[in-house]
């Protein structure tokens, strides 16, 4: 890649953009014209509203009321009592602004009775009328209390009753900065996205449609250069749009446009705040420009890109909304969140509070996200299917394989959820099925049927999905050999785990009951606790789920994920690690043998060992080496080493066979 290539591309793109009158007008001219017009319009409307409502007394109809109250309201210059009396129709027609319903009676009965104010919230002047009436009634109440105190000769001076008062000690500049900081980040993200959107969409999706992207990709220019050139263009336009928009807004406000009489004047933030905002804006602009280009690269047409852009814009703006919530402060966690960190840092900067540590974290994390987004975009643009709107076989195959692997994992997660509800409910000791009946139903119905239904629903050939193939004798021998080794390794591991996560006594007793097959004939216990899980759980995990995952062609990921899901499936924190380990081992067996049969054999034999150990399982798992002092670390090493050798031998056979 020649260093000048991106600049050549970017300068051509900008030249074209400047010649596109429509794009130029919307990106640069419109903001300059729009803000003064909008600000002046808003000012005019506010002035008219105030002139309409603020300068005339509120028209109020009074129903009831004492003579003193009527006199008080009449004396209020902001209230004009309507002689026509209370009429809801007049309120609807906006002939009056409010109705006051007051109890009638002598002056001695004043106070303590409720006064109701009726107003039509949608009407102009209703709010002002309500506020004036409330203020006037407060005054009336106060004067009434004062006069009564005087009449009774009380020494208490109601004028000295403590009143609450509040004063904001923040400087006007900080207040203005904080207010601006609540809005500006949202505006900034919106402007960066909308300012660069047209260019980004046109430069990739538009060029795909017009065929000029194909022209560019027949030139001796690296994909990175093309991406960098287009990115520079989008970045320049985005920043220019933001600067122009903000400058137009600031100029309009500084000229006094938009500030209605009596409101606090606009204050331009300090230089350090402006500088901090500009510095923060640059990585944010890099991030939004990359996102825009990625959206454009994903789409085949300009129209498709527009459709993709809307949800992306909403998702990108959402974190900036945090800046509008005063209770949310910039923390270490928020600082590394894309967009949110920048939004809150800008708010702080505008309020005159710059915390350099956080600022650096925000800059670094946003820069990192921007770099990742750029790298992703470059990857997208180097894909021929996206560049030309084509479908290439390997890509689609990979996509299909990935989709199936994902689907398999989601199915596994759904099965865990199903087991946690249905399985637990079925195995209640006091339930209709009892523990053993519930276990049988759980295994043969809840665990076995869904994978079979899955295979049918998604038309996955059952033989392939389950890897129902006759195993080689070597694989059978390996599966049998691995059982005692796995038992030893797990017992020794549990010994270690008990030092950091002690096995609860209750669980130990429960396991001893289960594996002891309490009340069951030994043969039935073996069938229910060893053979049934060996078939049903293997059909689910090493069958359908692993079958889907194997299509992705990533054996290590498959084995680890299957193991982890298998561990979680047993819904037992204390046995999570050993069952996950067994899950990985079983996944490895299927991967190497290409058949589910050795997995079933291993699983049944392993569980059978536990059943045969009977009531000692809990003890083995909870106290391990403590109860069996002959188990030494050397045994762990020997067993682990032998397992590794067997696993490696099987893997080598898989590659050669």
């Amino acid at each position: 890649m020649r260093g000048s290539e991106p600049l050549i591309i970017a300068s051509k793109e900008l030249r074209e953009l400047l010649r596109d009158r429509r794009a130029f007008f919307f990106a640069f001219i419109l903001p300059i014209l729009l803000y003064p017009l909008v600000f002046a319009g808003a000012e005019k409307i506010e002035t008219l509203r105030k002139a309409d409502v603020g300068d005339r007394p509120s028209r109020v109809a009074l129903a009831g009321g004492t003579a003193s109250l009527i006199a008080w309201l009449r004396a209020d210059p902001d209230i004009a009592l309507d002689p026509a009396g209370p009429d809801l129709g007049a309120l609807e027609r906006e002939e009056i602004d409010a109705i006051v319903l007051a109890p009638s009676g002598g002056d001695g009965e004043d106070g303590g009775s409720d006064v109701r104010i009726l107003f039509r919230g949608l009407s102009r002047g209703a709010g002002a009328a309500r506020a004036r009436i409330e203020r006037s009634l407060d005054g009336f109440r106060r004067s009434l209390v004062e006069s009564r105190f005087r009449e009774r000769g009380s020494r208490l001076d109601p004028g000295r009753i403590a009143e609450t008062s509040a004063r904001d000690v923040a400087t006007p500049a900080a207040r203005a900065g904080s207010r601006l900081g609540g809005i500006l980040p949202i505006l900034l993200v919106a402007l960066l996205l909308t300012g660069g959107a047209f260019v980004a969409l046109d430069l990739v999706a538009g060029e795909k449609e017009r065929g000029t992207l194909e022209t560019l990709y027949t030139q001796p220019v690296a994909a990175w250069s093309v991406m960098a050139g287009k990115f520079l263009t989008v970045l320049t336009v985005s920043i220019a749009a933001v600067v122009l928009n903000l400058a137009a807004m600031a100029a309009s406000a500084a000229l006094g446009l938009g500030a209605a009489p009596g409101t606090e004047a606009f204050r331009l933030p300090g230089l350090s705040a402006i500088a901090a905002c500009l510095v923060l804006q640059i990585p944010l602009a890099v991030l939004t420009s990359s996102i825009l280009l990625a959206v454009s690269a994903c789409a085949r047409t300009f129209r498709e890109a527009q459709m993709l852009l809307l949800p992306v814009t909403l998702v990108a703006i959402l974190p900036a909304v945090l800046a509008a919530l005063p209770d949310i402060q910039l923390t270490q966690l928020i600082a590394v969140l894309p967009v949110a960190g920048t939004a809150l840092a800008i708010r702080e900067a505008l309020a005159g509070e710059v915390r350099w540590g956080y600022l650096l974290v925000v800059l670094a994390s946003t820069g990192l996200y921007a770099a990742l987004a750029l790298r992703w975009t470059a990857g997208l643009l180097s894909r021929e299917d996206l560049r030309l709107g084509l479908e290439s076989e390997p890509l689609l195959e990979a996509r299909t394989a990935r989709a199936r692997a994902r689907r398999g994992v989601f199915f596994g997660i759904a099965m865990i959820l199903l087991l946690s509800y249905a399985g637990s409910a079925a195995q209640q000791p006091d339930g209709p099925l009892g523990v053993w009946g519930g276990l049988a139903v759980t295994l043969w119905v809840v665990v076995l049927l869904p994978p079979l239904a899955y295979a049918r629903a998604f038309r996955v050939p059952l033989k392939d999905a389950l890897a129902l193939r006759a195993p080689r004798s070597g694989d059978i021998a390996a599966a049998v050999l691995l059982v005692p080794l796995a038992v030893v390794v797990i017992i020794l591991y549990m010994d270690f785990q008990n030092t950091v996560l002690p096995f609860p006594e209750g669980l130990r007793g429960e396991l001893e009951k289960i594996f002891g097959g309490e009340g069951l004939h030994p043969a039935l216990a073996l069938f229910l606790l060893a053979v049934s899980p060996g078939i049903c759980e293997e059909v689910l995990w090493r069958g359908v789920v692993q079958g889907e995952m194997e299509r992705e062609g990533r054996p290590l990921k498959t084995a680890v994920l299957i193991g982890l899901l298998f561990g979680i499936f047993h819904l037992d924190l204390y046995r999570l690690a050993p069952t996950a380990f067994l899950g990985v081992l079983l996944a490895h067996l299927r991967l190497t043998a290409g058949s589910i049969v050795p997995c079933m054999l291993f699983h049944a034999l392993y569980n059978g060992t536990m059943v045969l150990a009977g009531g000692r399982v809990g003890t083995l798992l909870s106290q391990g080496a403590e109860k069996l002092p002959f188990l030494q670390p050397a045994l762990l090493l020997a067993s682990g080493g032998m397992m590794a050798l067997v696993a490696r031998w099987m893997w080598a056979r898989r590659r050669t066979g």
């Binding site: 030249r15 017009r210 000029t212 027949t218 030139q219 001796p220 290439s392 076989e393």
Partner: protein, 246 residues
């Protein structure tokens, strides 16, 4: 002398969402030398464009190999692109640039210096009779002049190999005739020209050798005379129909 283009069992498979795998080009093999015009003759959808796109590195072959000007299309795509001028119905022009600006832009992307590029741009404008329209934006040019600007764009760096995909498609008789003269002129200047078409008269006028492509496969390749002898048909149209089994 090494051939300008060699294609050895070039294959490209796409996976259509509805139809499944579709092999657009299947084990296409041929070669083409400098000073030669080679024609890919076939109906719409025969696989001509896919083959030319693989040669111009726009598409990566699913299998097979190809070299252009001695460079492998997969391993050295930038060197291949430096050596080719590629033009197809899909390659567009920048609407808001003039032909002169377009030539400068693409010349600079090819790494040409200002000293070399200036005279070359004027030379190409003269060669294609584009000088009167050199400073008119491409969006305002007629179809013929736009095609000329596209050709100018493809040859501004004076490539030894020209890959032209249906270069006369949609052109009027005069412009198409000028295009045919241009291709003949390129051959005379020792360039290798490979072009696809389904217009038989152009093939007869221009091509030293042809490959008849149908259903993604090369049905026959050789000189027109060789194909006539092979099929026993006197007219090229009959030769073509006989080879594609129409």
């Amino acid at each position: 002398m090494q051939p300008a283009i060699t294609a050895d069992r070039l294959t490209k498979t796409f996976l259509d969402r509805r139809r499944g795998p579709v092999t657009a080009a299947k084990e296409i093999s041929f070669d083409c030398g400098y000073g030669e015009v080679f024609g890919l003759l076939g109906t719409n959808g025969a696989g001509k464009t896919t083959t030319l796109r693989m040669l111009s590195t726009v598409l990566t072959p699913t299998s097979g190999t190809a070299t252009v000007a001695g460079h492998d299309v997969v391993r050295a795509p930038l060197l291949v692109r430096r050596a080719i001028g590629f033009l197809s119905g899909n390659t567009g022009l920048y609407a808001r640039l003039t032909p002169r600006e377009t030539l400068w832009y693409f010349g600079r992307l090819h790494g040409m210096s200002h000293e070399r590029l200036g005279p070359r741009v004027e030379q190409v404008l003269d060669l294609l009779d584009l000088r009167p329209h050199a400073d008119v934006r491409c969006e305002r040019l007629s179809t013929g002049n736009r095609q000329k600007a596209s050709i100018a764009r493809a040859i501004v760096h004076d490539p030894p190999v020209l890959i032209l995909d249906e270069p006369t498609l949609g052109l009027d008789v005069l412009v198409a005739s000028a295009m045919v003269r241009f291709i003949a002129d390129c051959r005379a200047r020792g360039k290798c020209v490979i072009f696809s078409t389904h217009i038989l008269s152009e093939v007869e006028k221009l091509c030293d050798r042809i490959a008849v492509v149908h259903g993604g496969e090369v049905k026959a390749a050789g000189t027109i005379e060789e194909l006539r002898l092979r099929t026993g048909k006197p007219l090229l149209e009959e030769v073509f129909i006989s080879l594609v089994g129409g």
